[in-house]
């Protein structure tokens, strides 16, 4: 029943390094991610967390390292895969939720089309089935069925973000990358999205890697945290342990800098 009792990691990252000339993007990052786990990557702007995420997701090519994913055919190093195989992975087992919904949606295509397009990319052809599945997913992200033929630009920011999530999850990915998914949203909209994400993670057994600078978001969403500074992972552990009893000086500074409301 429980995805978290699985003993093999879904993703195993070894010594991942990315440099921009003499500058370090991220250096020597290693971790395992297990099925059903949510890993938060935190750090301030320029800490390398977004570089790491885009290297993991295949949007950038790291200089060295391994990103081993548990595919249906067994563990494969994603960095050694042929481009078509990696693209297929990106449409099936993997998903990527961008901070700005415009980067993850097609703004000129209807809401239903945005969700259906990803289904068609994995071979769905029957119009009725696609539309039915799209409607189901819009419902799951709390978008009313009568908005299916509207375009995303007629949606609020929160709705666009929920649509992006539906578009990403409709093909049943096992691993979801998220880059500041609640970043551009009002706090009340943020809360609703957090609740939605928690439910989806629990009900679908998703594994998630979420990059954010918002420690309140990771406290509620992530099981584990990785803290980055200047491209290096300075601390990692259980989320509430890292936040309540930080061991590294930088994490202590980060946690003690949160404004209380």
């Amino acid at each position: 029943m429980n995805a978290m009792t699985e003993t093999r990691p879904l993703l195993s990252v070894r010594n991942l390094t990315k440099r921009y000339g003499p500058r370090i993007g991220c250096a020597d990052v290693s971790f395992n991610l297990y099925p059903g786990e949510v890993l938060g990557i935190v750090g301030e702007s320029g800490s390398g967390k977004s570089t790491l995420l885009s290297c993991l997701a295949g949007h950038q090519t790291p200089d060295t390292g391994e990103v081993i994913f548990q595919t249906a055919q067994g563990p494969r190093d994603v960095l050694q895969m042929a481009e078509p195989d990696r693209r297929r992975l990106g449409r099936t087992d993997w998903a990527f939720v961008h901070q700005n919904p415009r980067d993850g949606l097609r703004m000129g295509v209807t809401a239903g089309g945005n969700v259906g397009e990803r289904l068609m990319a994995v071979g769905a052809r029957h119009y009725g089935d696609i539309r039915e599945k799209a409607t189901d997913w819009l419902g799951r992200v709390e978008i009313a069925a009568d908005r299916i033929d509207d375009r995303p630009r007629q949606f609020s920011g929160g709705m666009q973000q929920r649509l992006q999530i539906a578009r990403n999850l409709v093909t049943g990915p096992r691993l979801v990358f998220m880059d500041e998914p609640t970043g551009g949203l009002d706090v009340s909209v943020q809360a609703r999205l957090l609740d939605l994400l928690r439910g989806l993670v629990r009900d679908l057994g998703l594994s998630v890697i979420i990059v954010t600078h918002d420690l309140a978001v990771v406290r509620l969403l992530a099981h584990r945290l990785m803290v980055m500074k200047s491209g290096h992972v300075v601390e990692q552990g259980l989320t509430d342990q890292v936040l309540d009893d930080p061991q590294h000086g930088y994490t202590q500074l980060l946690v003690s800098s949160i404004l209380q409301v």
């Binding site: 509620l220 259980l238 342990q241």
Partner: protein
């Protein structure tokens, strides 16, 4: 079910000159199935620190914290997460929830995490909320706007919705009126009768005398001051 030995804890304040503050040394205690042990000691003597180390959000410097066979002092995050999901419950003094989530769903969540069907989980949540005298009109609202006593009772409902074999209770009867205090003490007695091993902090002496089988004074776990 809980077996702690030779446990120590230090805090290192990197941004305050790297000051190292030892706060606990040589802590040891056990809690058996069906037993309730109360932690006593003056404010600041380390009761809550010890509870947090067992919960896993404070790191041990050395020693062993066995909870149902898992050494929390050394376990991987995912082992602690699995332990908290099914075995180790914690009623803290603070309710930390996603804003805008209805109270009934906040209470039902631990059961959903265990794979209990939503309908059944909500029924259990509603039964507990009723028992703890939270008015039904509040169940669909977020507890973030509730009074301190109401939040405390929501926290208790969430903490007792699953029969955790091991429970940590941090001042479960604080800020409760007599009737609700009685409900909580009965819940604790039922959990004990069901075989739970309970470690608690009770400033309420009457409550402590009623539910605790033994007391452990944490003052004995304070590190000796260097001469």
């Amino acid at each position: 079910m809980i077996a702690i030995s030779d446990l120590s804890k230090t805090f290192t304040l990197h941004n305050q000159g790297g000051a190292v503050i030892p706060v606990m040394q040589g802590a040891a205690l056990t809690v058996s199935t069906g037993e309730c042990v109360g932690l006593v000691g003056a404010s600041g003597s380390g009761k809550s620190t010890l509870m947090r180390m067992i919960w896993g959000n404070y790191l041990a410097a050395s020693g062993q914290i066995l909870v149902a066979g898992v050494d929390v002092a050394r376990a991987e995050p995912r082992e602690i997460i699995a332990l908290r999901r099914s075995t180790l419950g914690y009623v803290s003094q603070f309710l930390r929830v996603v804003p805008r989530v209805p109270t009934v769903d906040v209470v039902a969540e631990p059961l959903l995490n265990l794979g209990v069907p939503a309908e059944q989980a909500r029924d259990r949540a509603m039964a507990l909320l009723a028992r703890l005298n939270i008015p039904e009109r509040l169940w669909s609202l977020s507890p973030t706007t509730f009074s301190g006593g109401e939040q405390q009772r929501v926290n208790i409902a969430r903490g007792f919705i699953h029969p955790w074999p091991v429970m940590l209770l941090d001042e479960p009867t604080a800020s409760l009126d007599a009737a609700n205090r009685e409900v909580v003490l009965t819940l604790i007695e039922e959990a004990k009768a069901g075989g739970a091993a309970i470690l608690g902090i009770f400033h309420d002496e009457g409550a402590r005398d009623r539910v605790c089988d033994r007391l452990v004074d944490v003052t004995g776990f304070r590190p000796a001051v260097a001469a």
